[in-house]
């Protein structure tokens, strides 16, 4: 998700450009040493890295492709240079597992490292079961731990954070857990429960036509206006990308209609910079007396579907 933000793209592009500079300086060093035959490869790979940087900045939807290019550049140079390095080969071979860890997702990185390990050990000339090859294998086992930890923390946040990542509303999972518990509560206390379904048809086209900032403005405006129109214990959650549920515990049908009118009125007057007047479609779903959770949820989902396809 955060792989497609412009900020990350810029930082990756910077890393690729610095890689290109490193390759250029390596080629220059060969030139100074008079190894003219060895200049061509790093020079070509430097161009490849520049291409990767440009791709990373221009094609935001495919962050993998430039990473593959950078990895190919690193691996090619390493494979060609390792046999010529002599004693230092056992130092530079350690780059291979770290490069794949930095550039690939966890599982592909692990697989590639395991598959390539014999080849790298052969290229650097270290005998099997010697200290250098054991050290290489250990480095290969330790490097991906950082990615494991990243993955664990990200999954943990997704599983425990009830809020949506983009706006001040509950996420889909958080919403469903909250709604489920609110349903139980109203049932135990014999209260009514109403839900206002709000669909913003502009959200999807906004990010396509005007970029993520226009979409953010839409979401922020909705959350702010709904908050202004509701009580403290009403809660707003994001059911789908463009549809929100406002859950109103202990609210009768007339009360919910009033809330709906109030929100509609508040949203009507909003005009945003990119998308113009804010359009919205709303529906009301009141829990019927004696209705069970499954039926109620199905009715709610049907209403949501109807509003989205209208």
């Amino acid at each position: 998700m955060d792989e497609s933000t412009p900020n990350t793209a810029g930082r990756f592009a910077l890393a690729y450009v610095s890689g290109a500079l490193l390759l250029v300086s390596y080629a220059a060093w060969h030139y100074l040493m008079g190894h003219y035959a060895r200049i061509l490869l790093p020079a070509l790979l430097a161009i490849l890295m520049l291409v990767a940087a440009v791709l990373r900045l221009t094609v935001l939807n495919h962050p993998r492709l430039p990473a593959y290019l950078a990895l190919i550049a690193g691996y090619l140079l390493l494979a060609v240079e390792l046999p010529r390095l002599g004693d230092s080969a056992t130092l530079w071979v350690g780059l291979a597992p770290v490069l794949s860890t930095l550039l690939l997702p966890l599982m592909p990185a692990l697989t590639l490292n395991v598959v390539m390990a014999p080849a790298w050990l052969l290229l650097c000339g270290a005998p099997l079961f010697s200290d250098p090859s054991l050290a290489y294998l250990t480095a290969m086992a330790l490097a991906p731990l950082a990615l494991w930890e990243q993955r664990r923390q990200r999954a943990l946040m997704l599983a425990t954070d009830p809020r949506d990542r983009d706006c001040q509303a509950l996420s889909r999972d958080g919403l469903h857990a909250h709604l489920d518990s609110e349903f139980q509560r109203t049932e135990l206390l014999h209260q009514s429960l109403a839900i206002v379904v709000i669909h913003l048809p502009q959200v999807e086209m906004a990010s396509e036509q005007f970029g993520s900032r226009a979409r953010q403005a839409l979401l922020d405006t909705l959350c702010r206006e709904v908050r202004r129109c509701s009580r403290r214990h009403d809660f707003l959650g994001r059911q789908t990308l463009s549809t929100f549920w406002l859950v109103l515990p202990d609210t009768s049908e007339s009360g919910a209609q009033l809330v709906q009118q109030r929100i509609l009125h508040a949203l009507e007057s909003v005009v945003l910079v990119d998308t113009g007047p804010l359009r919205s479609r709303m529906g009301l779903c009141q829990r019927l007396p004696g209705e069970d959770w499954q039926r109620f949820l199905r009715r709610l989902l049907d209403l949501t579907q109807r509003l989205e396809t209208q």
Binding site: R11, F12, L14, A15, S18, G19, L22, Y26, W29, S88, T90, L91, G94, L95, P97, V98, T101, L102, L103, D131, P132, L134, A135, L137, T138, A139, A141, L142, A143, P144, L145, A146, L147, W148, E149, Q150, R151, R152, Q153, R154, A155, L156, M157, L158, A159, T160, D161, P162, D173, H176, A177, D180, S181, E182, Q184, R185, L188, L189, R232, H233
Partner: protein, 287 residues
């Protein structure tokens, strides 16, 4: 809600690393580097043992700093054997960590480059330094921002359980109090103190005793709180006795009516001074 994520594979990777280090350690002739390798084995094994999918142990700082320190120590004491591990620095920098440990690790990486300088020779040292800079740039681009403290305050402590932080209670308490008054519902706050090692099992048991719409909070390493809702005083009394019958015994408990508990500070201080095992605060009526 229950997540499908399993920590098993990560634990396996940690143990594989520990095993390889344990292979290497006896082959060391120098005492210092052998000791450092064994420390590394210990660190990896303990991390694997303590690893779990919850916010119970948010990564402790000295714990995160240890791999960087071990790596520096090892490169310092045995540069010729483990020069290859110099390339582990980008992985250390890639670990989710606060910015000051990141700074420390960057500095340590610089120190180990300096320690390896005589081994590399000037030209190679320059290229190693440049390559490390490029890899660091990649690691920084890929870095996952650690959880902000603000975010940490609002998440469930264990996936799937209604167990929240103390900060969340200070937000929920006034809201629930107002809501109970409006809806004419009997709300109570339960404060529960248990021995430190029993806190998480008790929290789990307490969470299973609650209705879906009630929540449990961890106030500190010994104290839990829960918001209980009942239709009336009679039902509340029944719930109190069932709860007290099921929860493990060395404990101290206090039930407060939500109507009297507008602020958490005073009841909590009273609770800490409380000598009896169970107290139930009632609202005074003066007619």
């Amino acid at each position: 809600m229950q997540s499908k994520y399993k920590v098993g594979l990560m634990r396996l990777n940690l143990l594989a690393g520990a095993l390889l280090l344990a292979f290497l350690a006896p082959r060391q002739t120098q005492l210092a580097s052998a000791l450092l390798l064994w420390l590394g084995v210990l660190w990896l094994t303990l991390t694997a043992a303590l690893l779990e999918f919850s916010h119970r142990r948010p990564a402790m700082l000295p714990w995160q700093l240890l791999p960087g320190l071990l790596l520096t120590g090892l490169l310092w004491t045995a540069p010729e054997g483990y020069a290859l591990w110099f390339w582990l620095w980008p992985a250390v920098l890639l670990m989710p960590q606060p910015s000051w440990t990141l700074g420390t690790n960057l500095m340590l990486a610089g120190i180990s480059w300096w320690a390896l300088y005589p081994l590399f020779g000037p030209i190679q040292a320059a290229f190693v330094g440049l390559t490390l800079a490029v890899l660091t740039a990649m690691a920084m681009a890929r870095r996952h921002q650690p959880q902000q403290p603000v975010v940490r305050q609002r998440v469930r402590l264990v996936p799937g359980l209604p167990l929240w932080s103390a900060h969340q209670l200070t937000e929920d308490l006034p809201r629930e109090r107002a809501r109970c008054q409006r809806e004419d519902v009997h709300g109570e706050l339960l404060l529960l103190e248990v021995p430190r090692h029993q806190l998480w099992t008790t929290a789990r048991m307490l969470c299973h005793q609650l209705y879906g719409f009630e929540s449990c909070y961890r106030l500190d390493s010994r104290t839990l709180a829960a918001l209980l809702l009942s239709r009336d005083d009679v039902q509340a009394g029944q719930r109190r006795s069932t709860l007290m019958a099921t929860l493990p015994t060395p404990r101290k408990a206090r039930f407060l009516t939500l109507a009297t508990a507008d602020d958490l500070g005073i009841p909590l201080a009273d609770f800490q001074r409380q000598r009896t095992a169970l107290t139930t605060d009632r609202e005074f009526e003066h007619g």
